[in-house]
């Protein structure tokens, strides 16, 4: 991810990239196949990244982060994804409660919850979805009933990454009837009485990134753990959406690059009959274009300009690219591609998730159509 557009951050990006690569060589790459097959989450690898500040690249130094520009964050995510998409998910998700706390938390909440999410002592998670509420996030039904000094939560959340392993959960629950204005955000610790973890999902890919249910049964959460005001919860969740989508683009770019790199490496040793390298030229062109667009988005995040459209465009195009590249690469490698040792089959399985998470690509298109209605009237 060499930086051409904004040379002032290039040094930091290079440094970040080198650090991630060193950690990945030691803690991620050697175990990627085994962890995938055994669905094993590697906490020590997360800690190794966090100790170097890589779990909180953009978080201000005052709260324990590196305080670097977004370009550095996206570079880090792209590099982590090259070695382990599962770990990239964990790290990306760990940034969501940090971002929400920075945007909506009180000074006291920031000081209490952000530093452990930066230094690896705690892992953060984000819980919005429910069995009946996916793309239509605002239809969530988990209840938070106000009592003296706090709220009592009841309901089941699902699709929560790092569920059961994470220590702090940003949970969106309903405090009033109003669909979008009746949702409130809370930070809930893992060991809170009344919170337990339901089934872990067995899935096509991202096998080393746990995904599971949070079950709240009369779970008391003090008012001090409410993030933002009552009814602001959807805003809290959505505030992390743009950056979350750009992260998915960054990891998709990393995955596509890794796949091309591995494919070319294999073709040097043995080129099966009929292999057409030209097929991949277009992917390479798209990859370079998306890297440039990613830099523009990073700059927008730094400057605080709206990036909603750009984030949707990036997420859509980059995840589709990762899927197409890995799908064609798998076929091009032939039988050696599908055996687990080639790792291409894992990249292919992991890629599919990227078209679904952080808003399915159908949802990204809805966002873009809305923008086009404004832009082309």
């Amino acid at each position: 991810m060499a930086l051409l557009f904004y040379p002032e951050t290039a040094g930091d990006e290079k440094r970040i990239q080198d650090r991630v690569r060193a950690i990945a060589e030691k803690h991620l790459r050697p175990f990627a196949i085994e962890d995938d097959q055994q669905c094993r989450f590697r906490r020590n690898a997360f800690e190794a990244l966090a100790v170097e500040g890589l779990a909180s690249v953009v978080t201000p130094k005052a709260y324990g982060g590196l305080g670097l520009p977004y370009a550095c964050y996206y570079t880090a995510m792209s590099e982590i994804a090259r070695a382990s998409m599962s770990m990239a998910v964990t790290v990306g998700v760990n940034n969501l409660p940090q971002g929400a706390l920075l945007a909506y938390g009180s000074e006291e909440q920031k000081k209490k919850y952000i530093p452990p999410l930066c230094n690896g002592k705690a892992i953060g998670a984000f819980s919005l979805s429910e069995p009946g509420s996916g793309s239509d996030a605002a239809s969530l039904r988990t209840q938070a009933v106000a009592k003296a000094d706090g709220y009592v939560l009841n309901g089941t959340k699902c699709w929560c990454s790092t569920a059961g392993y994470a220590d702090l959960y940003l949970v969106m629950a309903r405090t009033a009837e109003h669909k979008t204005g009746g949702i409130t955000a809370f930070i809930v610790a893992k060991d809170t009485p009344g919170l337990r973890f339901g089934k872990q999902e067995s899935k096509l890919g991202l096998a080393a990134s746990p995904l599971g249910e949070l079950i709240f049964e009369d779970c008391f959460v003090p008012t001090a753990q409410r993030i933002g005001g009552e009814g602001q919860g959807l805003g809290v969740a959505l505030s992390q959406l743009d950056s979350g989508r750009i992260v998915i683009a960054a990891v998709s770019i990393g995955l596509a690059e890794e796949a091309l790199n591995r494919l070319w490496g294999s073709l040097q040793n043995f080129t099966p009959d009929g292999t057409d390298k030209n097929l991949f030229a277009e992917f390479y062109a798209r990859l370079q274009a998306l890297k440039s667009l990613l830099q523009v988005a990073a700059r927008g995040k730094d400057e605080g300009t709206p990036v909603t459209t750009l984030a949707a465009q990036l997420k859509l195009l980059a995840s589709d690219l990762a899927m197409e590249v890995t799908s064609h690469a798998l076929s091009a490698l032939g039988p050696q591609g599908v055996c687990v040792k080639s790792e291409m089959e894992r990249l292919f399985r992991d890629a599919k998730a990227l078209q679904i998470v952080e808003g399915t690509n159908q949802i990204q298109k809805l966002v873009l159509v809305r923008e086009m209605d404004k832009a082309f009237k």
């Binding site: 979805s129 009946g132 509420s133 996916g134 793309s135 239509d136 239809s139 699709w159 999902e201 067995s202 899935k203 096509l204 890919g205 099966p272 009959d273 009929g274 292999t275 057409d276 899927m323 799908s327 798998l330 076929s331 091009a332 032939g334 039988p335 591609g337 599908v338 292919f348 399985r349 599919k352 998730a353 078209q355 679904i356 998470v357 399915t360 690509n361 159908q362 298109k365 809805l366």
Partner: protein, 146 residues
């Protein structure tokens, strides 16, 4: 041996048809049941487009496969028919699988639902009995008389 390879490819086409057909069936069932934004997914145009493409793709693959099978029965020597049928149907079944998962969203990605397995099986049809790349080579040789 060449005749055996041809029937093997037509067989793979048949398997691909079955996998794609199962994918379409499950996907249709799901989008009619699952509701978001107060209506079934089947009422969203984006869903309808995907289902329409999958169904058309499947129909085309079916025609191609049966055409190749009939030619084989008649003892025709055109080896490219089986290759064309396999190339098209294996890719079609994979596309259907990937789009089926997409229609099911997060549920499609889990092993609790069958679509991700259909997709993995379909993908193998692009590789076994000669990869897509080999099929293209066979077809090109026939078409260009190389």
């Amino acid at each position: 041996m060449m005749r055996n390879l041809n029937i093997e490819r037509i067989t793979i086409s048949g398997i691909s048809l079955g996998v794609a057909s199962a994918t379409l069936k499950y996907s249709k069932h799901y989008v009619q049941e699952r509701r978001q934004f107060d209506k079934p997914l089947s009422e969203f145009q984006a869903t309808q487009q995907k289902i329409a493409e999958m169904a058309t793709d499947l129909e085309a693959g079916r025609a191609l496969t049966y055409n190749a099978a009939k030619a084989y029965d008649r003892g025709e020597r055109d080896m490219s028919l089986g290759a064309k049928a396999k190339l098209f149907t294996a890719q079609m079944a994979t596309r259907a699988g990937l789009e089926g998962i997409q229609l099911l969203g997060g549920y499609g990605y889990t092993r609790e639902y069958p679509v991700e397995r259909y997709m993995r099986d379909a993908k193998l049809m692009e590789i076994g009995a000669g990869t897509n790349e080999i099929m293209r080579l066979i077809i090109a040789r026939q078409e260009l008389e190389l």
